[in-house]
Symmetry: D2
Subunit: 360 residues, 4 copies
């Protein structure tokens, strides 16, 4: 089984369902199968920049009951880029060398980082700078990491958003209302379009497809004209409100006021259609649920595979899910393929086939 | 089985889970057992004031698959008091006689009304004015109708709010955040305190108990001092923000700005504790879920019993749930006992026993 | 707050959802509010008869994450009456004095026992024999403990059984099958009748009401004659198969072969109706789920109130749930009122009102 | 949009969650977008062999509320191969020409068949015989149809089985028991291994991997030796009991007594380990649930894409799910690749990495 190793694991960026399942799988594979040491590092890179380093040695007992728990037992953070970390005195400090030094103080042979594309890019940069052995696992409720078909946390988030639509359907119909559900998805509309199709939405607005309020109003008015007096609208939080006269989309790097798009739509749609509107903002409930079986399965597969990558000393790679198998790809390659909703892809075609208004 | 009857049924006020189960039970009992006619009236009293009257004859087929559906197949409305109903021209019209006339046009022998205390009081007033035979069934997610231990829809609403807390717990712990969940409860805090206890909240704010921000901040700071860096706060939408310098509660008839209390708390608690705060507003998802088994059970019992009240020609009564049995009480008596959360009762004692901060 | 106390808590009999919520509430009230010591005793009375006594001191940290967990962190057992306990050598031993001695070795001032009517009666007998201070909390998925409207674990069990019916409904209809669901309920039919009503069953068989196969067959044939080719049958595991020529019920103390009633019905109903039949045996999934919010709420209220009983030195009492409040009753009184399904009560009337066949 | 068409749709084989979502999507695409006629054929090919043909014209209203319903509104059957159909007189009749004639009587231009590999092979044979225009959609909770990564119904079945494991975990731990969960999977172990990994099973037995009882007993005894006194065992219903002295697996076409493997294991494991064992047989609850969002999404995509296949007159093809897209493949090709669990694949590697005993 090769030489003994001592590895670290950390969770970074926003939390999601399935992180604990990864930690459990890594521990089982590394400690249980290989007899290695596993250090769980607290609060992403902050655990490595703290002195003493904040970490805990993981064993099978410590991960025994975490499989079904949302969140991460190691904590995480999305406060602060370690290359320009906000200090208490208001200045910014490059903490990358502190992190590298923390890795060495822990005596690590390799590090497993679980994160989205933003935090994985940062971790990889640090690893290159310090010549650290780094392996990546993709997680994000937004499912926008490239190459991999699924990132951990996405399935659970879609389930929670769809369940909310199922509930809103009943009350919308009872009161003849237009219900607006604002879901997460900071740059990509995967949650919105997946939950919208699964939950029978009438309108789905995602950042990848420009929309006009006129189109949305027309759709709802058509419903009204046909005698169906309620509608369900799903909107990604990343959808923008207005730029100049028309409401358009922002691309990933554009300017856009995040937050409040649900209420904005409620106000405008009420005006143009005369319907009563109501808004639900699911917020962080989308991150925190009991992980779905699929998220647990993929998380477990990723955890085992990431340890095997280290056993093979195949660093600077990410585990991905492709065609029901784990496939290793260079991190650089994965991060180079940002994965937005494809306006020509199956999901969009399906939505159009179901006569769902996408606003365009 | 007594003489043949023709009865009407309507759902009024805000919708909730379990209304369809009542409609199904009424139909089974009246049509299936007694061989009566049942007319389902659309959109509460609006169906009766429309010409022609908007109603549908119900039979076993029409209610065959509605048991598990939220909302109401008959529609409902909480727009407009029929004694001062808003007309398209901006004036207000007393529609009570139109409603009474609608009842007669349908040839009804009796009417079953499902509603909260507000709409049941109105229906009773109309029934008295027109000498109609009226029987009441209590529903409200707020559970504030007097005498009955449970109103239809409450259990489901508590389940949904508790599930949200369960989800927020994980993500709060992962990010060291203070999570605020704003739940429904327009006058009474039953949802907030029940879900708060069941979901392990640290702070529960209800309209029945005055609170100060200082007390809430202190509770969260105590947590922080003990090394537990996250907290869960549940607040009823009816809780007021500020009156003058201090934050106090409004009683049922007081003035209070509804809406936005969750965000208000998030801003203030962030300031006083330094913690990151996030808000979830569940909104109408609390009304619309698949009814819980308990709501379906009580709804079924109420539906059957209401028909039996009519068979016995015992009008002006409401069915209530007491000690696991249906008990009939005069409507007047039930509506005379508004049921707020008892500040000396079991729920409050339990919350205090669990060291939950109630803000006082 | 009175003098310092050292109390024990144990869970006995079959496990169910909500036991951990009781343990958590007891710890919060006793340790958090009163500053007492709480010893959690392992595996019911077996922890007290072991040497050394098997127990753990409970504090707020140890109960921090158990609220939403099914089962009991202390373990339990329903193997062996302590007054005639099976020894490894095949003999039976009266262990009651060992248990009393265990209580003394732990230095307890009082003991909280959570159990069904069987185990509570045993615990009370031991307490009387040893002059121990004993307080009881009722739990049982069967809901057959007297006086209290609800015992811990019942609501969750009904939810799980109802959910199974909801699922079977779809597949029964798709294949024109008669689906039989065998649910728990060793002596009483509360789960079967509650889930049956809530889940839209066509036939409900409970031990409290004698049935004949002829009646059940006739009901299914009526369905077939009306063109509805599927039926849902719920049967309590306690329902008997046959005695002599006719199928009759056993009362609580009668003889009856437990187990297999579901398959028995499937065979007979297939023969008499010609329909395809399928059986689901939910088994222990009914015990193990995440506790429902209502079970958590009642468990929390019971836990706090049981500690307050001890603070008041009001021993030999049980906490009960009546009219949404905790009410104290002498244990003897509660155990003297076995609570079967009342053949004249609301549930049976509701089932009949919904035209559900009860087999009689 | 091409010429007007009149198409038929039928669901065949065992039902599962998501069939209604397909029917809805087909109707939306064909009626809503293209303005075609859609005939829903009842009970698979039996609707076509009946006279008059049993079918219903589908429109948007008829499919309006079926998205979240399990089962199939069209009914299905797995009774009888139409090439040797059992007649009331005990003989067998080749009904293929009747089915072809039924297709012509309905005036169909094309037929969409939703089924597993068995029923799709039969439908294709009939289509070839009658020169019918046929398009296939894969569904099966077993997920064993080739080429496609997912078949409709699989995700929901895994969710239900995993949920059962989650529940059994608690009660197993409380009582120190070995819990055996028997899940569906007639030929392939996909449900068992997916749910087993996701639900934290200790032992997973699937038909693709031979096992010995000795290996399973040893695993449980190791647990016992380490002080963990409970275990969770998941077994596929297709796993065989014994052949001669040793317990071995059957391949897909081998002989094997189906049914009862759960109880068989319970008896043997109780004997060899001394532990208490309990069995749960989920049965048809695995087929009938509310479809998971993922099943609804894939079903919707398949439904839209199948209609588009017909619009393109690209017959004899099946829609498949590959890399998050719908891909068309010749039916023959898909059915030629039976998809068992790969003993060298990611799922098996993951299970071994988690130290789950697979019996070999």
């Amino acid at each position: 089984m090769g030489e003994h190793k001592r590895i670290g694991i950390l969770t970074s960026g926003g939390d999601c369902a399935g992180l604990n399942a990864v930690i459990r799988a890594v521990t089982h594979r590394a400690v249980g199968t290989y007899g290695w040491d596993v250090m769980g590092i607290y609060r992403a890179t902050q655990g490595l920049m703290s002195r003493p380093v904040q970490a805990i040695e993981l064993d099978l007992d410590k991960v025994d009951s975490i499989l079904t728990k949302g969140g991460t037992m190691l904590g995480t953070t999305n406060k602060g880029n370690p290359f320009a970390f906000p200090m208490p005195d208001g200045t910014f400090h490059d903490c990358s060398e502190d992190i590298i030094e923390g890795y060495r103080q822990l005596g690590l042979d390799a590090l497993i980082g679980i994160g989205g594309d933003g935090s994985l890019a940062i971790l990889r940069k640090i690893a290159q700078q310090g010549n650290l052995n780094f392996v990546a696992i993709p997680k994000t409720i937004d499912n926008d990491v490239g190459i991999t078909e699924r990132s951990i946390g996405f399935d659970t988030a879609v389930n929670i958003a769809t369940e909310a639509l199922d509930r809103l359907h009943f009350t919308a119909a009872s009161h003849d209302r237009v219900m607006i559900l604002e879901v997460m998805g900071r740059d990509a509309g995967h949650i919105a379009i997946s939950a919208g199709i699964a939950g029978g939405a009438d309108v789905i607005l995602i950042p990848e497809i420009p929309y006009t309020l006129d189109n949305v109003c027309r759709k709802i008015q058509e419903h009204q004209a046909q005698g169906r007096n309620f509608s369900l609208v799903v909107v990604s939080e990343a959808v923008c409100t207005e730029q100049g006269e028309t409401v358009t989309w922002s691309d990933r790097f554009g300017e856009c006021r995040l937050g409040g798009i649900g209420q904005y739509l409620a106000d405008r749609l009420s005006t143009c259609t005369g319907a009563e509107t109501r808004v639900t903002v699911l917020g962080h409930t989308q991150r925190g649920g009991i992980p779905s079986p699929l998220d647990r399965l993929i998380a477990s597969a990723f955890g085992v595979a990431a340890v095997d990558l280290i056993a093979d000393e195949k660093y600077d790679h990410m585990v991905t899910w492709q065609q029901r198998q784990v496939v290793y790809v260079p991190i650089q390659e994965a991060l180079g393929h940002y994965q937005a909703v494809d306006p020509q892809g199956t999901l969009v075609k399906t939505a159009r086939g179901l006569q769902i208004c996408l606003g365009d």
